[in-house]
Symmetry: C2
């Protein structure tokens, strides 16, 4: 699950780096169904060297989300053009800087109440945000993680896609203030661990890599898919599984993924300490290589 | 559960009848957390004779929602003033016309990703919409209702309040096109009936009035609470219960409630016919009397 760790004002200061339906600095109609009902999708894309990372994968997830919500096919070419414009304007160019791109596609305005309009004019919104300040130690030494009280509800109709109904994550993130705790893990009502508030979870036990099944809740992250591919390439046994939280605790290695952070090893979960293990290191190295290739 | 049956352009034509943070015709910042995450609440209020119906109850639900989401207390006085301004401007005055008021309170902009800002500047949005065209027969003869395939997920942290994460209702409403079917009923994963996509459900069996428990999902409607009070005043046995959908089917009377429609008797549910029974009629008459008193 990728998520924007930073939401100060968009890059660009006085002239906000936002393009709404092709119009720079546009505003959002107050009747947008994205606001009314969370009727839409989003993507958070890391930008480096003036280029978005794993663009095709983000676009594929967005397309799948559109299909699942019954939204018209997203105009990927327009998104690519607008992303380029924002990157150029912000100076996020080759070798210069990094940024975080946020894309929102909503069902636009119209319809009667929840009923969707016969002809949909989606809202397409692209904004560029500063790269967040992430403590160096998060990568090298790992992060501290807690278990959230909130349980994720099951909704197979929405599971996997990155839709705009994110109150569960917002409420879960409100459970702690300690700046030294980087993430909170969430279980579902059955006590199976699903994900972090803004990340996917992996665990390693006996040399096997496992990640929670996301068919009932959670967001299927882009980096999660890349890590899976790396594991397959390297011959690391991998499975998607139902994982009770006790099993996650007993792992030898734990790590988190999202599109901005890449991989964060977990060094402490609910008071238990973990080493940054060999499988995590191997995957981190390969992932950073892949990310660099994406924007070379 | 009240819901806006109408979303054509707001009343007022060229000059939209929307007030955002006290500013008429204001626009919404593209960074609003209401759009990003559905991080907020709404209310749909019937307006008649230039006055909102059950205002104190809507404000009480909004306040409860703010508490549950950790939002600052809503400025009820400002909402009341802005509602009056909109009603006057639209000519929804005593004896003149009816309208539907939509109120949105979001957590505004700011914070880092899902993390909420330390100081919240909520967005307060009020808009006035035309009264929907509702077929006369819906009140007198009742409506046709179907059972939706989508199951509502359990989320006690959000159950009861009217938050902006409404994709379940949007997807459920997309399940049918037949204009003769007025509403779809939703079960949870356990096969218990919860509500309609935009309404609460009541059933009558053996002279007893029952409505689904909403502690795990659903929205606790204003009219639902009023109907409960009427039942208690009239000595009609009433209970909030877990209701398997088969039990709903076997009822003698079924009806739906929301803030705009009031009470709609159900004349057909999934092919089975129902009469508009004596308990429903009694409640309808009392409710209409109460609504009239609200805006007299």
């Amino acid at each position: 699950m990728s998520e924007d760790p930073s939401f100060g004002p968009p890059v660009g200061g006085a002239a906000p780096m936002v393009i709404v339906n092709g119009e720079a600095g546009g505003t959002l109609p107050t009747s947008d169904r994205g606001l009314y009902y969370g009727d839409g999708l989003f993507e958070t894309v890391a930008v480096h060297n003036g280029r978005p990372e794993f663009w095709d994968r983000h676009m594929a997830r967005l397309r799948e989300g559109c299909t699942r919500l019954g939204l018209p096919c997203v105009d990927v070419d327009a998104l690519a053009r607008e992303t380029e414009v924002l990157c150029k304007r912000a100076g996020v160019r080759k070798g210069v800087a990094r940024g975080v791109l946020k894309i929102i596609i909503s069902r636009g305005s119209g319809g009667r109440g929840y009923r969707t309009p016969e002809t949909v004019h989606p809202t397409r919104m692209v904004s560029l945000h500063p790269w967040p300040e992430i403590p160096e130690g998060n990568l090298a030494g790992g992060v501290r993680v807690r278990l959230c009280d909130l349980r994720l509800g099951h909704q197979p109709a929405l599971a996997g896609i990155k839709h705009l109904n994110r109150l569960e994550s917002v409420l879960a993130r409100r459970e702690w203030d300690d700046p030294d705790i980087a993430e909170g893990l969430l279980c579902d009502g059955d006590g199976l661990v699903v994900a972090g508030t803004m990340s996917n979870l992996f665990l390693v036990k006996g040399g096997r890599l496992r990640t929670p099944d996301l068919s009932r809740c959670g967001v299927a992250g882009i980096i999660r898919a890349v890590v899976r591919e790396i594991a397959e390439t390297r011959g690391i046994p991998f499975e998607v599984a139902d994982i009770p939280v006790a099993e996650a605790r007993e792992s030898q290695e734990l790590f988190l993924t999202n599109s901005v952070i890449g991989i964060w090893p977990v060094r402490e979960f609910d008071g238990k300490a973990y080493a940054v293990g060999p499988v995590t290191r191997e995957l981190m190295e390969d992932l950073e290589r892949r990310r660099a290739l994406e924007t070379a």
